[in-house]
């Protein structure tokens, strides 16, 4: 039966080219805009290499040192000391990784230049400082060599991991360069491994180059405020997402224990407690609003983006249904029930909506690709290189699923009222219209 509906829909579409074009354009536009939001959300929160464990990851990106009498608060991230006291010793998570982000390194060191000893060429690079478990928590694809291990990390060994692109710029090739040395702002480092390039859309892991953060004193030396806060962020990998609460509690216990050792200041997480990647993505949208407000605002925006075209399409449908009333009247006269009629019209309409959805999806890919820097860069990011996207980020089951669901919702929103009106029409009246 549905096959007949689709056949009929195809015929109708061909007969009313103008109507179909307007309808498909209207649907496409609505779906394109909503899909842009959905794709951006997907790229920011889904498990995408190297951040394959986002759904199990708890982000502790901020820490506060507060004077016990309340007269001073310093919001920053964690110091190495705090990291060791409160995070590395956690029992409930699977692993704990730590890093100093590209933006933070830039703020501390200024612009960074790489060079080969003896050569005059200098290249700017986005550097991140990490620990050794970082390479376990995140899944990089290694082309060559091995990253620094725990002993090398703890001793502050000058070993670095480079991306393919950076290695090519610096050494002119990507093979057999592990063990070679180069300079980061005149300090010598040895190449440990080469990994595939990382897109800046990967907000936690993006960098051109990674080094143990223990290898530069500027990351670990934090004499002020009893050494509580520093530039380091902790990424806690839970066994499963439902463990988050347990981990938060354990951090809280560690924190209280740690505070008993401190004198004038205390360590708190009040400015931003550990968040999941989803919560963090929502927080990133607007720092000055609470996550509930942001969710409400975006729900409203999506509502408007769907509702305006839905009214639009309803109007079109209503006009179109006027023309088809005689046909429907005859169908009714021969015994078609209103459920059958509604079913048929909705299916026919879904056919057009899906065509529109397909166009919309393609358009939304175009928008995301063209505006990738605008859409995917985190707010106030210090990263200047362009955001690159892989096909897998755009074309995957989740994105298609979102698109399909939006089509169905839009179809229902736009056709229910006109169809309802028509299907209730009196048979005699309907045929009379002929």
């Amino acid at each position: 039966m549905y096959k007949t509906y689709f056949k009929q829909a195809w015929q109708l579409m061909k007969q009313n080219r103008f109507y179909s074009a307007i309808y498909i354009a209207g649907t496409g536009l609505a779906i394109a805009l909503v899909m842009v939001i959905a794709i951006v959300y997907h790229i920011k929160t889904a498990d995408i290499a190297p951040e394959v464990n986002r759904s199990r990851l708890l982000l502790n990106e901020s820490g506060t040192a507060k004077k016990k009498d309340g007269s001073r608060t310093i919001n920053y991230s964690l110091s190495y000391q705090t990291l060791k006291e409160c995070y590395y010793s956690l029992k409930s998570p699977e692993l704990v990784a730590a890093s100093v982000s590209v933006g933070q390194v830039k703020r501390l060191l200024g612009d960074i230049y790489l060079s080969i000893p003896g050569s005059k060429d200098k290249y700017t690079a986005d550097i991140s400082g990490t620990d050794a478990d970082y390479w376990q928590v995140f899944s990089f694809s290694f082309l060559e060599g091995k990253p620094y291990n725990t002993e090398e990390f703890e001793s502050g060994y000058h070993k670095a991991v480079l991306t393919e692109g950076m290695a090519r710029k610096l050494f002119g090739s990507v093979s057999e360069i592990s063990g070679k040395s180069f300079l980061i702002n005149d300090i010598e480092y040895v190449v440990g491994a080469i990994v595939k390039d990382i897109s800046p859309a990967m907000t936690i892991t993006y960098a051109d180059l990674w080094i143990p953060f223990t290898s530069m004193p500027v990351f670990t030396r934090t004499e002020e405020y009893e050494n509580i806060v520093g530039p380091i962020r902790a990424y806690i990998l839970a066994h499963k997402p439902s463990d988050f609460e347990r981990i938060r509690k354990e951090i809280e216990e560690k924190r209280k224990q740690y505070n008993t050792q401190l004198i004038d200041y205390e360590f708190t997480l009040e400015s931003r407690p550990p968040l999941s990647q989803k919560q963090e993505a929502i927080r990133q949208i607007d720092f000055s609003s609470s996550s509930d407000e942001i969710i409400l605002r975006y729900s409203l925006i999506i509502c408007v983006f769907l509702l305006v075209p839905a009214i639009n399409l309803s109007g079109l449908m209503a006009s179109r249904m006027q023309e088809r009333i005689p046909e429907i009247g005859i169908r009714k006269a021969f015994g078609a029930g209103w459920t059958t009629l509604i079913n048929q019209i909705l299916t026919e309409n879904l056919f057009l909506t899906l065509l529109g959805g397909l166009c919309g999806l393609v358009v939304s890919y175009g928008i995301v690709l063209v505006l990738s820097n605008t859409l995917l860069m985190s707010k106030y990011s210090e990263i200047t290189s362009a955001v690159s996207l892989s096909p897998g980020m755009l074309m995957n089951f989740m994105v298609f699923f979102y698109a399909f669901m939006i089509c169905v919702v839009l179809n229902l929103l736009s056709s229910l009222i006109p169809v309802w009106n028509v299907s209730r029409k009196n048979i005699v009246e309907a045929i009379h219209d002929k």
Binding site: L29, F305, R320
Partner: protein, 422 residues
């Protein structure tokens, strides 16, 4: 004609209801976005209070003990501050450099910001008036010259000459809150947790952090060369910014040439030149997020307008098809094509009017409830009318274009041909 149009609209009320509802919703959303964009444009166009053209930030760094050439400061027999002053004086000799300033965490288009609580002291009554947080700049007089901060009359030197150990410069918006009676120059101020009293040496035009930020009350404290020479240490070196103003005739290659030719000269004791950055680049990077947001809002405007366009095209396409008979009759009875088109467009605009009035009422209520941004400027009747006006014009344009397309079919109709539909 108006009565006739109303009648026509009433007769087609069911299909008009849809387009009416859409216009209502879009009018409200569009007004909200137009209002936001208006505020952004207004901010963007208001004066910054300083001048960053031809200004560069010179990134000086310190060698660390991992570097072979590093020597402990004590071996040189000078202080770090003295070394910095030597490097800065060498910079001044480079051709094209007009003035070089030193400051501490006092750059605009930057996230590193210092604040202080200030108090006003009335010497006669010995009362103190707490006036809250002001942004604190620390800089040398030349720092004022680099950024061309100026009095309201536009005099930079008057400010630079009056910045000293016990004289500070405050912005006029800070002066207005601190000294509502006017004429702040020469009066006393002090820090909230410090009894040291300081004179107001001069009042300068208000300043903002970035093109999309509002004015922040600020004061400039003197950073003397003496203090730099004696107090600067390695821990605080990173907070010091060296900025220079180049002669406008130096052109685009200034930074590259400076870096190439001065690298050797500015390598002094443990200090070395890492980079020189143009302030325009720093600004571009800083305002990127705000520009992106404005772009998103523009995309929203575009989306809503296209929707209205499609809705109007669709509705009037069917309508003109239904009414070809009526239109033919009108032509046969002597209506000109212009008349027909204006009836159709008139229909659209009257529906818009019916939708726009309630939309404006809703918008007014949203505005009075301060759901719109009121930090940049209060919700005034002028702002409301202006933004409503822009919204109305945009909608009118879109509706007229939307109707114009389907009406072509009617307009090209031959009277004999059209009567056949009757």
């Amino acid at each position: 004609m108006f009565n006739q149009i109303i009648k026509i609209i009433w007769n087609q009320r069911t299909s008009n209801a849809w387009i009416w509802a859409e216009m209502l919703l879009v009018s409200i959303c569009l007004w909200y976005i137009v209002d936001d964009l208006y505020l952004r444009a207004k901010l963007y166009l208001s004066p910054m209070g300083y001048d960053i053209s031809d200004v560069y930030v010179v990134d000086l760094h310190l060698l660390t003990n991992e570097n072979e050439q590093y020597r402990p400061q004590s071996e040189y027999g000078t202080t770090l501050g003295e070394d910095l002053l030597t490097v800065v004086s060498r910079m001044r000799t480079y051709p094209g450099v007009e003035v070089v300033g030193i400051s501490e965490s006092s750059l605009s288009y930057s996230y590193s910001r210092n604040y202080s609580n200030m108090q006003r002291i009335n010497l006669e009554t010995e009362d103190t008036l707490n006036c809250g947080r002001l942004r604190r700049f620390n800089g040398t007089p030349d720092y004022i010259r680099v950024f061309r901060y100026a009095t309201e009359e536009g005099n930079t030197d008057a400010l630079a000459d009056n910045l000293s150990f016990n004289q500070q410069i405050i912005t006029s918006d800070a002066a207005a809150t601190l000294f509502p009676e006017g004429n702040a120059t020469g009066k006393f101020l002090s820090y909230a947790n410090d009894s040291l009293a300081i004179y107001v040496g001069g009042v300068m035009s208000p300043i903002r952090f970035g093109d999309f930020d509002t004015y922040t009350p600020t004061f400039i404290r003197s950073l003397s060369e003496n203090a730099i020479a004696t107090e600067l240490n390695e821990l605080y070196f990173g907070r010091i910014d060296v900025t220079l103003r180049a002669n406008p005739s130096t052109g685009k290659d200034f930074a590259t040439n400076f870096l190439k030719e001065m690298r050797e000269q500015l390598r002094y004791h443990n200090i070395y030149l890492l980079n020189i950055r143009s302030y325009d680049d720093i600004r571009t990077r800083y305002i990127r997020t705000d520009i992106n947001e404005a772009k998103m809002y523009l995309a929203g405007v575009f989306f809503l307008l296209i929707n209205i366009f499609l809705g109007v095209v669709g509705t009037f396409f069917f309508r003109t098809q239904h009414r070809l008979g009526e239109m033919g009759l009108r032509i046969a009875l002597g209506s000109t094509t212009r008349n027909l088109r204006s009836i159709l467009i008139g229909e659209g605009l009257v529906i818009l009017l019916f939708a726009f009035v309630p939309a404006a009422c809703i918008a007014l209520n949203l505005g009075l409830k301060e759901i719109v941004d009121v930090e940049v400027m209060p919700f005034t009747i002028g702002r409301f009318i202006l933004c409503q006006g822009i919204t109305f014009i945009l909608m009118t344009l879109m509706i007229s274009t939307g109707i114009w397309f389907p009406s072509r079919k009617v307009v090209n109709l031959q009277p004999a041909e059209s009567l056949r539909y009757e």
